[in-house]
């Protein structure tokens, strides 16, 4: 990094608010799914809270993201309203997508969440297109493509990085390297010591950063976003992290190394950041407790709203296929 970026105190607390929202939301999701009150495939992002929180405090509502099936943290950090998200995951007509997309396809253009894909590696080519539109129109928007370490082995990753570099698109590629692609360890599938190294092939900066360190993540994100916004082209950020609840909620993590998950959970980045903020005097215990209880109330309302909302009508099967309904 050419210069150090330090978040303001307000940005630090804002990052915490986003991280706490993701953590508390995840805890509530898992409880509600476990209780059988909502039936949905759930790819928990618990453990990866820092990455989109640090990215999103550097973005505005005008900026776009494309995310993936493990993307609830990216959506919440970008500002998708909790109520609408819950209603979508419950498959209700009041959801972001009228219940027609579900957790793997949340879209909320008002907050800049333009596409959520369930196909590994597909966020990057579409993010390029969002960035292309901004470039053609001369807008100052930035697009962030989120994806996992597994996606760095798909052809679309390479096609997309090459095209973005050739055209100097205002896009930031954020690889959330949680060290497993589905059930398979990184080194079994990836012929690169680090994914960030691949950026060199496409003549763009490639940065590996501790994605669980809010200050490092903030600095890397700000550098890349500023660069994109200035018209200097794309950056690949590889943010190192770990997922606490396996690939899909309910998986038994038997493929993981002994003690690996426990060690990662012992380094939980959310309480660590909370303690640091208080220790450093950036926030008081009561400031943060207030944030947490406001989130808890918001979640109470969201769960009630989702569970009490109506299912979509069957007529929705014919709507939104084309602009006008085909008989």
């Amino acid at each position: 990094m050419s210069r150090q970026h330090t978040p303001s105190r307000a940005a630090m607390v804002d990052m915490y608010r986003r991280m706490a929202l993701i953590k508390q939301n995840d805890e509530r999701f898992r409880a509600v799914i476990k209780a059988g009150r909502i039936v949905a495939p759930y790819y928990s992002p618990r453990g990866q809270e820092v990455i989109p929180s640090a990215v999103s405090v550097n973005l505005t509502n005008e900026d776009y993201i494309c995310t993936i099936y493990r993307g609830v943290h990216d959506m919440l950090a970008k500002g998708v309203p909790v109520k609408l998200l819950w209603a979508e995951i419950a498959g209700k007509v009041t959801g972001t997508c009228k219940g027609k997309g579900g957790p793997m396809h949340v879209t909320h253009p008002t907050s800049g969440v333009m596409v959520t894909t369930g196909v590994v590696g597909s966020s990057m080519p579409i993010a390029n297109g969002l960035a292309l539109a901004s470039q053609v129109r001369g807008e100052k928007r930035v697009t962030v493509a989120y994806f996992g370490d597994g996606a760095a082995n798909i052809g679309a990753f390479h096609e997309s990085l090459n095209m973005a570099a050739v055209w100097k698109l205002p896009v930031v590629f954020v690889c959330q390297n949680n060290q497993y692609g589905e059930h398979t360890r990184y080194e079994v599938t990836t012929a690169a010591g680090q994914i960030a190294d691949r950026a060199a092939s496409y003549q763009m900066p490639g940065v590996r950063v501790d994605g669980n360190d809010p200050l490092a993540m903030y600095a890397a994100a700000k550098e890349a976003i500023d660069r994109a916004r200035a018209g200097s082209g794309p950056t690949l950020i590889e943010a190192m992290t770990f997922r606490f609840f396996g690939h899909v909620f309910g998986d038994m993590d038997e493929y993981m190394r002994e003690g690996e998950k426990a060690a990662a959970m012992a380094r939980d980045p959310v309480p660590a950041w909370r303690s640091w903020l208080i220790q450093q005097g950036h926030a008081t215990e009561s400031d943060l407790a207030q944030i947490e209880s406001a989130i808890a109330r918001e979640l109470d309302e969201a769960v009630d709203f989702a569970l009490s909302s109506a299912d979509p009508e069957v007529a929705e099967l014919k709507r939104d296929v084309f602009a006008t309904e085909v008989p």
């Binding site: 997508c97 219940g99 080519p125 579409i126 939104d320």
Partner: protein, 333 residues
């Protein structure tokens, strides 16, 4: 000072599509082009469909791309979601296979999956067709793949004028459109289109009225149907020809109205016959008119094999006039 050049009375499909792209770009700054070799520095496309457009509208709007089909469609799709009207060229229809995830899982489905919050008004131009000795990976008609996918319109013009009017409609349509250009007939001239006149999507065209049998076709085989119909007219067999223009959504109404009069139908397409568009049309006719038909619906398509190289085989692979004629005679009993 010279007088303004009179508009030509004839155009070929290359010129017709070029004219439509040019007019669309002139009308609307959100129309942009992406594809391999499409800029003038690269010759304006492998057959020259986009020639002149990068010089006229600039490289910001006419983007020569890497040979990266997923990235091409992804870029067009992302831009379309936020209000551009991109026209992406996938040089050959077989290469759409490389971009199927972007087309089928994303472009076609985003309107539905987002509950109508986003949509993708992009047009994918692609060329194909047997007859040039290009063998098994450069000439397939794969429209059934896309017609089978909810959310994408599939358009296949049969003449230069139709190519012009349908291309304009695709560009300004709010849904993703796949636009199929027949390569061997690119250089065949036809009457020039009326400037600015768009041909509606989803509406078939009764090209030739008749009372004895209905021929349903699209793309290059429409002209084959015409040639066979001319021949049979000499024997007093009066064939009606329906040019679908748009394969999906299918204008079943026009087909059913015709066959309810003629009571006989033959579907002709260059795609392989099994599981093809012809099967769908035959089924629709049966569902609507079972009991009123004078004969089973006939289908004429390519052999169920890869497009062959040998001229002898390639000539027989596509629906020949003899096979079309035999199918018509089979309905006449």
């Amino acid at each position: 000072m010279s007088a303004r050049k009179p508009e030509p009375s004839k155009l070929n499909t290359i010129q017709a599509v070029n004219l439509a792209l040019d007019e669309a770009m002139g009308l609307d700054p959100s129309v942009i082009l992406l594809g391999e070799d499409i800029g003038d520095e690269e010759d304006g496309g492998v057959v020259g469909v986009t020639r002149g457009l990068s010089s006229k509208y600039g490289k910001n709007r006419v983007r020569t791309t890497p040979i990266s089909e997923q990235a091409i469609i992804g870029a067009a799709l992302g831009a379309a979601i936020v209000g551009m009207r991109p026209v992406a060229e996938i040089m050959l229809m077989n290469f759409t296979a490389v971009a199927m995830d972007m087309i089928v899982n994303h472009a076609a489905k985003l309107r539905f999956m987002s509950g109508g919050q986003t949509h993708a008004p992009l047009t994918i131009r692609t060329m194909t067709g047997a007859g040039l000795g290009t063998g098994g990976q450069h000439a397939d008609y794969l429209e059934a793949w896309f017609a089978h996918t909810a959310g994408i319109k599939v358009v296949a013009p049969s003449s230069p004028a139709d190519a012009y009017g349908l291309m304009l409609s695709c560009i300004f349509d709010d849904d993703p459109c796949l636009f199929i250009e027949n390569m061997p007939s690119y250089w065949t001239s036809g009457p020039a289109p009326e400037r600015g006149k768009r041909i509606p999507l989803g509406k078939a065209h009764v090209l030739r009225p008749g009372k004895d049998v209905t021929l349903v076709s699209y793309s290059r085989t429409v002209s084959d149907c015409g040639a066979v119909a001319d021949k049979l007219a000499g024997e007093g067999i009066d064939a009606e020809i329906i040019d679908l223009r748009t394969i999906a959504p299918l204008d079943a109404e026009t087909i059913i109205a015709s066959v309810s009069r003629t009571r006989r139908a033959v579907v002709v397409h260059e795609a392989v016959k099994p599981f093809g568009v012809g099967a769908e049309i035959a089924s629709r006719i049966n569902e609507a008119l079972f009991g009123q038909l004078a004969a089973p619906v006939q289908r004429v398509g390519a052999y169920h094999c890869a497009v062959p190289f040998s001229k002898r085989l390639e000539t027989e692979y596509v629906p020949t006039h003899a096979r079309i004629e035999a199918a018509i005679r089979a309905t006449l009993g």
